[in-house]
Symmetry: C2
Subunit: 332 residues, 2 copies
DNA sequence: GTGAAAGCGCTAACAG
DNA sequence: CTGTTAGCGCTTTCAC
């Protein structure tokens, strides 16, 4: 529909009307020094002309496009939607626009997106990294300011270790959940993990100690189907299983569905703890016991870090919380 | 951590290495005409130097920043997350970045965001409008290319009526649901609406005909609390109610929770149909009968329209589908 | 305290 | 077919 679009008001127009040079307008508008009278004249003219400084001009001049880029695996996943919400909320307070890209948990797409960030001269990015992180190194060297959120990458590169990360305290979350389950008498506890959740799996191993049975740890890809297959497979293969920890809400959903399908009753036949508290956890039957993660906080804090200049903490660990509902019972 | 950031390769570097003028480089890279030999030399140099054209320079020159802006009420709401996913998916095929803003369904914030779009010289926006749409008129006149998604605005302005909109066929959805419920024998059917769902309410009135009881239509704001209050209020005030249509997933959730709290059994005491099929609808107890909306399609189509030049349809109506699960029963 | 002028990287108009 | 050049709107020296 692209209308004719009249020329927009520029700094030159304001300068002219105020009877000053453009430099003065620029200074006044960015809070520089100017005599009271000049300031008033400039502000006045700007208001009268409804002047909006063009981000385009500024960006080119400053060689950076401002704003925050956000890279997440999947916007339809509640946890990342909440994270995004946190980023947006922080960005808004800085009046910075947020550009979002979804990686589908695919390192290749991620690399592609990082490339386009560079093309846009974006220099601040909050990312939930998917790959091994190799791709980040050149970008970081090129001056990109990165903060990881929700996960960090397993990088052997030096630069990667210096990237700040805002994470949920998975380790504690897993430990608490495992202790809760063992406290209920469970001995055969399974773990449904997504590929790339090395951290959680490791925590699971550590928390289980002697009880560990590697065969009870299964991995799935991010897709619904893969999650279901993993869950159903585990339940069928190991009828001795008495409890399951699901590494994410998709996996939890898959576990509920698979259990229903296989006529495994929760919590009578199987106890279930799911990572991530989603709205439906409470509506589910039975209501699901979950390890809640502060998704929106993670996003907010990450955005805050990426906006902040200077020295920053290398890692921010945010607490998780075990919310006990009705999906766990004593071992039968 | 804002590293030293070496100067990036520019078109000038490429031109120099290829031994041609910058204009030639620009032409070759944007598919203009050039001799085979020149083209090769340029492409070669570009590759060797790993040249990425700066969007900044191009944007300033073209007076438009490219990319698509997306304005939605709430990214944590499944329906808008799916819509966003559709927009992202389409934008990706055009290799356009997407900038996202959440309005919280607040016209003031929406106006604010539109302002910052203008500041960024964004000229394409897909929006789920919140206000009455007055604010859009000046922006559209200023050359902003708008496509509404999921809703349209109730504008008396001429310009607004020409804005293309991609919508779910709410009217048909409501009619189907109401017919389904009346077919089960229900006569006292309530409607839980969000403020601004005038279209759906109107469709509800039309579909009910003689059965209409205005007192059974209640409105809530977007918040969880407001939704719950509306649902609980309706159930308590009108025990003669035998079925409810919830205008969105938040309202549906509220209805389930309120019913549980008030010991109203679904579907025995109350039949429930919810707008929007969300993953948890199937996990809920009982599984919820829903009017499914193609959220991701809506986003995709809207993005497609905003990218497309020239004549476009004014309205695209996408079908809804009644998915019958277990939350409705015959009137007792 | 203020203005003139340079220039960020790119594309489009024009000349050759 | 190709090179030269003029800016897009802004910020930032550098003189005054």
């Amino acid at each position: 529909m692209g209308s004719p679009a009249q020329r927009r008001t520029t700094i030159k127009d304001v300068a002219e009307m105020a009877g000053v040079g453009v430099a003065t307008v620029s200074r006044v508008l960015s809070g520089g020094s100017a005599s009271a009278e000049t300031r008033e004249r400039v502000l006045d003219a700007a208001t009268k002309l409804d002047y909006r400084p063009s981000a385009l001009g500024r960006n080119l001049r400053q060689q950076r496009s401002g704003g925050i880029a956000l890279l997440i695996p999947d916007i339809t996943d509640s946890i990342y939607a909440r994270l995004t919400d946190g980023v947006l909320s922080c960005a808004r307070s800085y009046r910075e626009p947020v550009t979002i890209g979804v990686t589908g948990d695919d390192p290749e797409q991620e690399a592609d997106l990082v490339g386009s960030l560079l093309e846009q001269s974006m220099d601040r990015v909050v990312a939930v990294p998917s790959g091994n992180g190799e791709m980040w190194t050149p970008a970081i060297r090129a001056g990109l300011d990165v903060v990881f959120a929700d996960r960090r990458v397993s990088g052997e590169q030096r630069a990667l270790d210096e990237v700040p990360a805002v994470l949920a305290d998975d380790r504690a979350g897993v430990r608490t959940a495992v202790e809760y389950l063992t406290g209920l008498g469970h001995r055969k506890i399974g773990f449904l993990a997504r590929h790339g959740q090395a951290e959680r799996v490791e925590a699971f191993r550590a928390a289980l100690g002697d009880l560990l049975d590697e065969d009870l740890i299964v991995h799935a890809r991010a897709s619904r189907d893969s999650a279901y297959a993993a869950a159903a497979g585990l339940l069928q293969r190991r009828p001795d299983l008495s409890a399951v920890l699901a590494g994410g809400n998709k996996l939890g959903e898959a576990a509920v569905l698979a259990a229903r399908e296989l006529d495994v009753r929760i919590p009578r036949d199987l106890s279930l703890v799911m990572f991530d508290d989603v709205p439906w956890a409470e509506l589910c039957s039975p209501p699901l016991t979950v390890i809640a993660q502060p998704g929106q906080d993670i996003g907010y804090r990450a955005a805050e870090l990426v906006m902040r200049q200077g020295r920053r903490p290398r890692t921010v660990l945010l607490p998780t919380e075990l919310i006990i509902r009705g999906s766990c019972g004593p071992r039968r």
